[in-house]
């Protein structure tokens, strides 16, 4: 019984690990590294900047109001929703419609749910970079005070 479980876990882990590597290659290495870096930084910052400008026009740049960090952090973490939701579903569309590899992968000896989860990890990593960049930008330039010692990390994750 234990041997079967260990074998299943090893099988799933191998599928997940390789799919993660493949997903990352598709998302990052297939693009110019400079373009990919710009893409990963400019896109989330622009999205945050739209809200910052909207807020500063109306409130005359009153960034000390408690509603500002509320809006800013909400926007930053919302990036996970888009990236994670599209991460796995887009992998299916990409493999089936674009690369036409879905049937080969499905019939190959891989644990398919682990494979899909792995493909989604790349977008999760990109989303995490975007979230961190947005929050750090807010802390450095927009006076958003986050005391990292006060964060309840257990509940956050």
């Amino acid at each position: 019984m234990q041997t079967r479980l260990a074998s299943f876990l090893s099988f799933s882990w191998r599928s997940f690990r390789l799919a993660t590597w493949l997903g990352w290659q598709i998302e990052s290495n297939w693009a110019d590294p400079f373009l990919f870096t710009i893409y990963s930084l400019i896109k989330p910052l622009s999205s945050a900047a739209i809200l910052v400008i909207m807020y500063s026009i109306i409130t005359k740049a009153n960034f000390d109001s408690p509603i500002f960090p509320y809006i800013y952090l909400g926007n930053a973490f919302y990036m996970y929703v888009g990236h994670v939701m599209t991460g796995i579903s887009w992998a299916v569309i990409d493999d089936r419609e674009h690369y036409k590899t879905m049937k080969y992968i499905y019939t190959a000896p891989v644990h398919f749910p682990s494979y899909l989860l792995g493909r989604g990890v790349a977008r999760f990593i990109i989303a995490s970079i975007s979230v961190v960049v947005t929050i750090v930008f807010g802390m450095l330039f927009l006076n958003i005070s986050i005391d990292l010692t006060q964060v309840n990390w257990f509940f956050l994750y």
Partner: protein, 281 residues
């Protein structure tokens, strides 16, 4: 017994040009209506995005005009997304799918193919933008008061011509790209929403930044439309509407001419070098 082979009359010159425009526009318009679920999401998702910005404005106590600015800006995003994904990157997708060679081999002008793509996309997107505008206006109680209908129509026409001209021009540039075309198109979303003032008056970015952003036709187009649809928006306007009309006319000329030049250049380059991608790939 001699058999006679029926011959079809061949279209030539302008007739061929317009037939090609129609032929390329047709699948765009019909294709958009085929998948009903796509139509629903194409309308529903932008409204969700508009709703998010509207509620942010309401939460911080913005004047009601700003809600109207967001609804109008949100409706116009449909055109930008169409230009970006279905114009600029279209020839790249066609290359990926193997259709580009057929287009080039066809005895017709590539300009006609691009124009057909633009017209078809514009009509299909216009229907969606109108629905988004009406639903958004109704949901958030926006009052549109058109002060000068004909100028509004002229501004819209010039904005669309310049915008799709930009799309036709960048379609040639995107041909040079390989897989990063997707990243580049994706990159031109939020930053353009930001600098073109889709959700706030572009005047707030400062004169020089707003002027630079005016190279994207939607910046001046949206600013002029806001001034013509919301009478109180004149105070938020970046430039006088008449200046913006002149600016948009200049952009139309530059982008359409640029599209023709770049298309010819790419064709010449591909004949000389025997490829259509950049050298490092």
């Amino acid at each position: 017994m001699a058999t006679t082979v029926p011959t079809l009359p061949k279209a030539s010159s302008w007739k061929l040009f317009f037939k090609t425009v129609f032929a390329r526009a047709y699948p765009r318009i019909v294709g958009q209506q085929r998948e009903k679920s796509w139509m629903f999401f194409d309308i529903f998702l932008p409204i969700l995005s508009i709703a998010a910005y509207v509620y942010v404005y309401r939460a911080i106590g913005a004047p009601e005009e700003y809600i109207g600015f967001v609804v109008l800006g949100g409706a116009m995003t449909a055109f930008w997304l169409n230009v970006l994904w279905s114009m600029s990157s279209q020839l790249y997708w066609e290359k990926e799918q193997g259709n580009l060679a057929l287009y080039i081999m066809a005895p017709s002008s590539m300009m006609a193919i691009l124009l057909g793509m633009a017209l078809g996309g514009m009509i299909a997107t216009l229907l969606r933008a109108i629905v988004i505008l009406f639903i958004g206006g109704w949901l958030f109680q926006v009052r549109f008061v058109v002060t000068d209908f004909w100028t509004l129509l002229l501004v819209f026409f010039l904005t669309m011509t310049a915008l799709y001209g930009l799309g036709m021009m960048s379609a040639s540039l995107f041909l040079l790209l390989s897989r990063e075309a997707w990243h580049l198109a994706n990159l031109a979303q939020e930053p353009i929403y930001l600098i073109s003032g889709f959700y706030f008056p572009v005047k707030n970015l400062g004169f020089w930044l707003a002027l630079s952003a005016s190279l994207i036709p939607l910046t001046m187009g949206l600013d002029a439309m806001r001034q013509l649809v919301f009478p109180s928006a004149a105070q938020f306007g970046f430039l006088d509407v008449r200046i913006e009309v002149i600016g948009l006319s200049v952009l139309c000329f530059i982008f359409l001419l640029g599209a023709r030049y770049l298309l010819n250049y790419m064709e010449k380059l591909s004949i000389q070098e025997g490829r259509l991608t950049e050298s490092r790939r």
